[in-house]
Amino acid sequence: MEKPFAITLDVGSSLANKTGSWRTYRPVYVDRLPPCNHACPAGENIQGWLFHAESGDYEQAWRALVQDNPMPAVMGRVCYHPCESSCNRGNLDQSVGINAVERFLGDQAIRLGWSFDPPASDSGKQVLVVGAGPSGLSAAYHLARLGHRVTIHEAGPMAGGMMRFGIPKYRLPRAVLEAEIQRILDLGVTLRLNTKVANIEETMREGQFDAAFLAVGAHIAKRAYIPAGEAAHLLDAMQVLRGMEGEEQPLLGRRVVVYGGGNTALDVARTAKRLGATDSIIVYRRTREKMPAHDFEVEEALQEGILIKWLSTIKNMSDEGTLTVEKMALDEKGFPQPTGEVETLEADSLVLALGQDVDLSLLNDVPGLEIRDGVVQVGENMMTGRPGIFAGGDMVPSERTVTVAIGHGKKAARHIDAWLRGVVHEPAPKHDLATPERLNTWYYDDAPKQVQPTLDLIRRQSTFDEVVGGLDEGNALFEARRCLSCGNCFECDNCYGVCPDNAIVKLGPGLRFAVNYDYCKGCGICNAECPCGAIVMVPEAI
């Protein structure tokens, strides 16, 4: 071709110049483990389901959630949400209200009748689950979804374990609990009520079970020796709370004293108030700071007019119901020591809420079992010393929460599944943690945490109506969108925008981005400006 004056070469594009050769570090996209996921005892992919909730796709969010936890409406009410305590957003304004969004999704699923995907296959294997508390139900759910045939033997007249016979209705309405249990049973899980397992080896043999998961909880109330008159009305917390599920409500009288400092003590005292007690008093031997109960529960109880006597022990109870209470003082090590100073307290009934022990009688004469501190020891795979028998929840060493119990059920189910197939389940390696300094928080705006409504005080003192209300769709969406998406690309387009070399390729909605290493010079702006820390700079092998 004829070229203009002084031009000897054809016009070329700078694409011929592969500037990637300048690079000493290369940006690589990663997924980091968000601290919320890391903290969740049930192993939920919280950031993952919030991602869908942020788009308003609540069903997809719910489906992602129930991959790990089949009971979001229950969890959204009773979980102590360690996820929120470790949420990175807490460093900016307030943590994301994960628990409230979870509850919203759970309630939405019940309202709209969403059901689980049926099992894809049938392994033909029979698995026995002992106990229909959260741990047993969770294991049953995961085993059923993995294609196994599951039968639950439950000693009690109804399923739910402590979710039904412990946690009061004003925190967990029974319709919610029933809906989530029924959805699990609808997967084809067989539930035998009023079927107490007395001897596990025998039951397994008779039912020809290939494996078993034990989750019998901890139901035997601990007693403290308190000298009491014959006629003194002395009960334990389990009796009272279990009684609430029966035909006749327990008779506690107008002046009720509860002895203990855990969540159970609070639940009993609050229940007594609702049953008409004028005085509902908790006696606890240590201070508020040392109380194992959660602060928000103490707060709610105080609002309802529960009185708490700190640093006090009960010495005895007379026939007429007079309690002798001794004042305690903390020593240098923080232990309560008696002071000799006493006072009296009038009570129509005294309820002991001093914790529970595990009834291990079904395990008598099982070889190879190790029992320490009153609980069954299990390995990393949740298997007891007896091959094929797994255990979880309150009966093994644990924090004794619904969430931990559900997490155990999931973990055990995965190992049982592997064990039945004669392989070893290898959990996927965990990603590096998305720590706060990985984030570029400039890009996030302040947004206040959405507040859940609470019932008025009068109704909280006289009815068992639910105390804490749920978010509506508007503020649930707002709350979900407060998530920073720690360590996981949320398609904000920053890397694509800030590269001076057009070396980031946008792959389209849902497909994230890729680096064009032909031109990436390795300046690292994409990494520096990624809000959520989803990029890492890796040295080039030069």
Binding site: I7, L9, D10, V11, G12, S13, S14, L15, A16, N17, K18, T19, W22, E54, S55, W442, Y443, Y444, D445, A447, F478, R481, R482, C483, L484, S485, F490, E491, C492, D493, N494, Y496, G497, V498, C499, P500, D501, N502, A503, K506, G508, P509, G510, N516, D518, Y519, K521, G522, C523, G524, I525, N527, A528, E529, P531
Partner: protein, 336 residues
């Protein structure tokens, strides 16, 4: 500020795009079909703010003009790194003028288009701070004074970078350059010299003047778009950190720009016909040290001895900007 605030609770408007935003609310840079006016393979340094600022501005201009755009480009890094003969990174009609006459060349293109009746085709002139505030100043002032139908964009990296970091009339006080070494009793560039081109442009009372910064993409794009809605002489002054000349980390380019704004060092403003019409407020005010410290050109202010007098002087200049342009809301003490 020209960019409208999108009430979006996860990230506000601060990110380039976001999967949850309506496409019309995302930036041009978030668009998979953006022009990439300045394409890959250019030879700008790692993390060059000028390359970034130029793509931001020209892509936005292309979007605003339906791709009917011609650019004239002064000599300087932007020209040299984009067009080593016979290659070009430009994916738009583009012409290299001389170092000092790009405003005049653009005026000529605009005149030719008028004669040909092609008013749909718009003209941009662009150059560095040297080409704009120093050698090209006469041509530019003429273009303003005649109200020629050109948008002039200055990419201000505060020195002559292409020839090895010499001082320009946009170099700030105390900055070390090749011609203002950090020696003597008043090391670095002399205080009290130089010129403020956005204010000079405003004094010409041309239809539109704005400043912008690479850390505020949406604001920058909105200003280019606004400029393209107007006929006559328009001027946008874009603050573009230069890792090589300033001695900053290549990955800190946007952070440094952000710090320039948050400290009040670089006011982000907008004016029509000589009147100030908008300012982008400081979001979280920071002391000037935060801006100065990461830059080697200011290293002599911190070691071997702390030069408080010079730092105070720079702080006073930033404070003056804040007062003069109202960069901090008097009532809340905060920006947006």
């Amino acid at each position: 500020m020209t960019a409208s605030i999108v009430k979006f609770y996860q990230t506000g408007t601060h990110t380039v795009g976001n999967r949850l935003l309506d496409p019309s609310q995302r930036s041009v840079q978030a668009d998979m079909r953006r022009t990439n006016s300045l394409n890959s393979g250019h030879r700008a340094c790692q993390g060059c703010g000028e390359a970034l600022g130029a793509r931001y501005a020209i892509d936005a201009a292309m979007m605003a003009t339906d791709n009917q755009l011609i650019a004239a480009n002064a000599t300087g890094c932007l020209e040299v790194f984009s067009t080593p003969y016979p290659e070009t990174s430009w994916q738009i009609p583009w012409i290299h003028s001389l170092f000092g006459n790009t405003a005049a060349v653009a005026t000529g293109i605009a005149a030719a288009l008028r004669v040909k009746g092609r008013q749909d085709v718009r003209v941009v002139a662009q150059g560095g701070d040297g080409g704009t505030t120093d050698i090209g100043f006469g041509c530019l002032s003429g273009m303003f004074e005649r109200n020629d139908d050109v948008l002039y964009i200055c990419y201000d990296n505060e020195a002559y970078m292409n020839t090895g970091v010499q001082r320009s009339s946009a170099t700030p006080g105390a900055a070390r350059t090749a011609t203002t070494p950090a020696v003597g009793t008043e090391p670095g560039n002399v205080f009290g010299q130089g010129k403020n081109l956005p204010l000079i442009a405003m004094a010409h009372e041309i239809p539109y003047v704005a400043t912008a910064i690479v850390s505020e993409l949406r604001d920058l794009e909105a200003k280019v778009k606004r400029a393209m809605e107007i006929r006559g002489a328009r001027y946008i002054h874009v603050f573009v950190p230069c890792p090589l000349g300033w001695g900053t980390n290549s990955w800190d380019t946007i952070r440094i720009a952000r710090l320039a704004k948050e400290t009040g060092i670089f006011p982000v403003i907008e004016a029509e016909h000589g009147e100030l019409t908008g300012v982008s407020k400081i979001r979280r005010q920071l002391p000037v040290e935060d801006y100065l410290k990461p830059q080697k050109r200011f290293a002599h202010l911190f070691a071997p001895v702390l030069n408080t007098a010079a730092i105070d002087r720079i702080q006073a200049l930033a404070d003056r900007n804040i007062r003069r342009f109202g960069l901090i809301d008097a009532t809340t003490g905060m920006g947006d």
